[in-house]
Symmetry: C2
Subunit: 305 residues, 2 copies
């Protein structure tokens, strides 16, 4: 999906395929090579890595300025702290908030329950929400009574990695339910022998929820869109650095031109439609699209890379 | 209190007093000087800084290996992330957990409400608790109904910086209440004209709580003790680095001697006594003491610093 989305919006992407037996040193040297390549603006190491490779070490070697996933601990620290701004917000976490915002669901003064505390989703989404003045409770595998806590929530973000764990009876009527889970369950009726389901029992929950995302769909494409946006942001910064001396030669007065305005050219469309099992519930769909505007072309023609 | 505690346990401490008009550059150059001084193992910049100085920039200049306060974003990131270990845990946050552990109050499967989300206390204590399998809710100034959430808690950690905000009626019977607040309120009966109170209305809450800390006392001395422990930990690591080559010359076989065992020599005593207004409530007091054991002396005599 990432590859296709990149092609659609005009971001060149390429894969570096390595054998499973690759040594840690070889993998790190590949990361260093990409760090040093000025044509590469974003690096994403597809997880999980083989067991003999130290994941923390490899991720730590990605230049923080190209870490589009935003997994660097320095980035997480800045995400957590009041008054600090991370270089990148983690794609899925950012995507959850974007889905809410674009669906007109206000998070102000809301009680949000995040189910799961993974480095990839649960933790960063809680930190982002806390910074956005939300009252957050994090429910996890060691929480004695998750159901009671979920029932109090105005917004539920399910990121536990447990197929259909959250039943319809777990929520009060009307909350927004964002389902981050993607779990394969056996399904002999499918050619592949399985189908993908979320952490929420959709058939049950859509009868109770006010808003609910689908799996597949919903959070998945939004995460990819956020990855593209992070990549575009880095590219813009690189453009800015490359353009500045050129502009200063041509127009010695300080110029206001900054390509930081470019991300507005990303159009993320959230489609809403009614749920067949509950006419009051809306389902959030998403289509991402990055428009190649004139401004975009102007910059890419002017900058020498 | 910090100065006195250092003297008591045998840690040399000195102050670098600068005028309020000090420039940012001058302050940073002082930090660099201390970073480079091998006799200095821990640096603490006393906050708040004057308004013309960028606090984030100054704190970011402290060598992460001497940042005994643990405020560096990289440290906070590692504190937050599963599978990562921070160089230091933030003193007050670590102190809250230590108070609970040393008082025999299990945090397992408990509901904890943290009131406040400051970089210094609320945020790091929530992150530490989450990592320790606790179900955490963070209540803050924008939470619509803090009282209801506090009433559900088995453990309340009050770090809002609001004098006596948490009333006795806010808690259910029996929780452990850790009061991190230190607020000055007018008191004409005192020579100074004020007295220090916590974020909890102690007189009311001690009739309901199972355990409660006092202000002053409780968290304050424990925070200082944790600062000493962080400093000792750094010193131990420096000893370890200094001793290793010496030991390898004397005893070519790999030696098991590691001064990482030293922190056990810190004795933190938690005294418990009954509260006069509620015989069922215990008050947590604390006295810190770092024993100069033989091992400690052996190392300081052997290492050449």
């Amino acid at each position: 999906m990432k590859r296709k989305a990149c092609a659609e919006v005009g971001i060149k992407s390429f894969d570096v395929d390595l054998l499973e037996q690759v040594s840690e040193a070889e993998l790190i040297s590949k990361v260093h090579e990409l760090n040093a390549n000025p044509d590469v603006h974003g690096i994403l190491v597809q997880l999980p890595l083989p067991k003999h490779v130290n994941e923390e070490k490899v991720l730590g070697e990605i230049s923080i300025e190209k870490d589009v996933d935003g997994f660097h601990p320095l980035n997480i620290g800045k995400l957590a702290m009041k008054g600090r701004e991370p270089l990148f917000q983690l794609c899925t976490a950012k995507g959850c908030l974007e889905l809410l915002t674009r669906s007109g669901i206000s998070i102000k003064r809301k009680k949000v329950v995040v189910v799961g505390r993974s480095n990839m989703v649960g933790l960063p989404v809680s930190l982002l929400l806390l910074k956005a003045d939300v009252t957050v409770t994090v429910v996890h595998s060691r929480t004695p009574d998750p159901e009671t806590l979920v029932r109090e929530a105005d917004i539920v973000i399910a990121a536990a990695g447990q197929a259909m764990m959250i039943k319809g009876s777990w929520t009060k009527p009307g909350p927004a339910v964002i389902d981050v889970g993607t779990n394969a369950v056996d399904d002999p009726s499918k050619k592949s022998g399985y189908r993908l389901v979320g952490d929420v029992d959709f058939q049950e929950a859509c009868k109770v929820a006010g808003w609910i995302t689908t799996v597949p769909g919903g959070v998945g494409p939004m995460t990819v869109a956020m990855l593209l946006k992070n990549t575009l942001d880095i590219w813009c910064k690189a453009c800015d650095r490359a353009l500045r001396p050129y502009l200063q030669t041509k127009y010695p007065a300080p110029s206001d031109l900054s390509c930081m305005a470019l991300p507005q050219n990303i159009v993320l469309r959230v489609w809403q439609c009614h749920c067949p099992c509950n006419p009051n519930a809306c389902i959030l769909f998403l289509l991402e699209n990055l428009k190649h505007t004139d401004a975009f072309h102007l910059l890419s023609n002017t900058a020498g890379f």
